[in-house]
C-alpha cells in the first residue's frame, strides 16, 4: 500500500507483535469491532484475541469446509473470498481490506463455506467466536457493533445483487473503481491512485463479467481519459464522471 496520506498507528502496535491491542489499534476509526467501547472494555476485548496471524500472498486463511472457530479481523493487507460451486467453477464474493471482518458466513454452518486467500502479505487478528459471543453478552456496545457489521454485510450484498442484475459492464466497472477509491480513502490512502491487487479475471468473477470484458472496458475508460491504467497501477482521472457512470454512488459502503 503506497500513497499513504494520513499516517496510521500501525507502526506503534507493530512493535508489540504478536500480541495486538484493540485499544492501540487505529482500526477503531473504521468499522472494526471495538467501536464504541470504553476503557476496561478494550482490555476485555484484547484478552480474547489470542494471536495475530501473518498470511503471505497466495496463502489461505481458511478453506471451504474448515470447521469454524474464529472470525478474522484484517489488520493489514488484502484478501479475496472465493466460493467454489459444484461444477468446479470459482466465484469471487468479495475483496477485503484493513478493518473488515472475515468469516461471518461460517456461523450458520459451523464450517466455512468459502475460501479466504491473501492477495498480498497480510496480518490478521484471530477472534475466537465463542469468546466473542460471551463478551457480547457482557458488553452491549460490542454486541450492537457486531450486529451492525453483520447487517452491513447483508446490505452490501443486496446492493451488489442489484449491480449484478441490472447494470452494464461499464457501469459495473465504474462502480467497482469508485468503491475501491472510497475504501482506500477511508483508510488514509489516495482515492485516485492505487494498485489493483487482483487480476482482471478476479475482477470479472466478482462483477459477473469475463476477463476480456474487464480488460476491454478498462481500455475504453482509458481511451476516454477517465482513468490511466498500466498493468495493475491505476489512476482515476475523473472520479466524478466515474461516479456518474456507476449511477448508484455506493457499491458496498465504507
Amino acid at each position: 500500500m503506497q500513497q499513504k496520506v494520513h499516517k496510521l498507528f500501525a507502526d506503534i502496535i507493530d512493535v508489540r507483535y504478536p500480541k495486538p491491542a484493540c485499544s492501540a489499534c487505529d482500526l477503531r476509526d473504521l468499522w472494526c469491532l471495538p467501536i464504541g467501547l470504553k476503557g476496561l472494555e478494550f482490555q476485555q476485548m484484547d484478552s480474547i484475541i489470542n494471536r495475530r496471524k501473518r498470511v503471505k500472498r497466495g496463502e489461505y486463511l481458511y478453506r471451504s469446509g474448515d470447521s469454524f472457530r474464529s472470525l478474522y479481523a484484517m489488520r493489514t493487507g488484502f484478501f479475496k473470498t472465493v466460493l467454489n460451486s459444484e461444477n468446479g467453477q470459482e466465484h469471487v464474493t468479495g475483496f477485503h481490506m484493513t478493518g473488515e471482518l472475515l468469516g461471518l458466513d461460517a456461523i450458520c454452518n459451523d464450517s466455512h463455506s468459502c475460501n479466504a486467500i491473501a492477495l498480498e502479505d497480510s496480518e490478521i487478528c484471530e477472534i475466537p467466536y465463542s469468546a466473542l459471543e460471551s463478551l457480547c453478552r457482557e458488553i452491549p456496545a460490542l454486541q450492537h457493533q457486531f450486529h451492525k457489521i453483520m447487517s452491513r454485510e447483508i446490505s452490501r450484498d443486496h446492493i451488489l445483487m442489484v449491480l449484478l442484475s441490472n447494470m452494464h459492464a461499464d457501469e459495473r466497472l465504474a462502480a467497482f473503481l469508485v468503491n475501491l477509491s472510497q475504501r482506500f480513502e477511508a483508510r488514509g490512502y489516495s482515492p485516485v491512485e492505487f494498485h489493483l491487487r487482483m487480476t482482471r479475471g478476479e475482477i470479472g468473477s466478482y462483477l459477473g463479467l469475463k476477463l476480456e470484458t474487464v480488460s476491454r472496458t478498462l481500455s475504453k475508460f482509458q481511451d476516454e481519459s477517465l482513468i490511466t491504467v498500466q498493468n495493475k497501477q491505476l489512476v482515476l482521472n475523473d472520479l466524478a464522471r466515474l461516479r456518474q457512470i456507476a449511477g448508484r454512488p455506493n457499491l458496498s459502503g465504507n
Copy 2:
C-alpha cells in the same frame, strides 16, 4: 396456501390472536428465532413480542427510510423485499415466507433500506430490536440462533450472487423453482405443486432477467414437460431434471 401435506399448529395459535406465543408456535421447527430455547426462556421470548400485525396483500410492512425499531418474524403469508435505486428502478432482493425474519439489513443504518410488501394477506410477529438484544445477552441459545440467522442470510446472498453472475436464464429459473419447492416442502406443503404469488416481472427482477425472458423460459420448460404452468399455478413434473439444470442444488436454503 393449498395442498397442505402436514397439518401445522397454526389453528391452535390463531384462537389466541392477537397475542402470539413462541412456545406454541410451529415455526420453531423452521429457522425462527426460538430454536433451542427451553421452558422459561420461551416465556421471556413471548414477553418481548408485543403484538402481531396483519398485513394485507399489497400493503407495506415497512418502507425504505422508515426508522428501524423492530424485526419481523413471518407467521403466515408471503412477502417480497424491494430495493429501489437512485434512478427509480426497483429491484426485488428476496421472497419471504413463514418462519423468516425480515428487517435484518436495517440494523446497520438504524433505518430500513428496502420496502417489505405483502404478496398475500400475512401475519407478522413484531420483535422490538432493543428488547431482542437485551434478551440475547441473557439467553446464549437465543443469541447464537440470531447470529446463525444473520449468517445464513449472508451465505444465501453469496449463492444468489453466483447465480446472478454465472448462470443462464434457464439455470436461474430452474434454481428458483427448486428453491421454492424446497421451502414449501419444509413448511409442510407439496414440493411439486404450488401457487406463485409473484408476477413474472417480480421473478425477473429477483433473478436479473426481463419478464419476457421469464415467460419464455417457463413456456420452454412446459414444452419440455418439465413443468405445467397455468398462470400462477405451477406443477413441477420433473424435479430431478430441474435440479440438474439448476446445477447447484441450493439457491438459498430452507
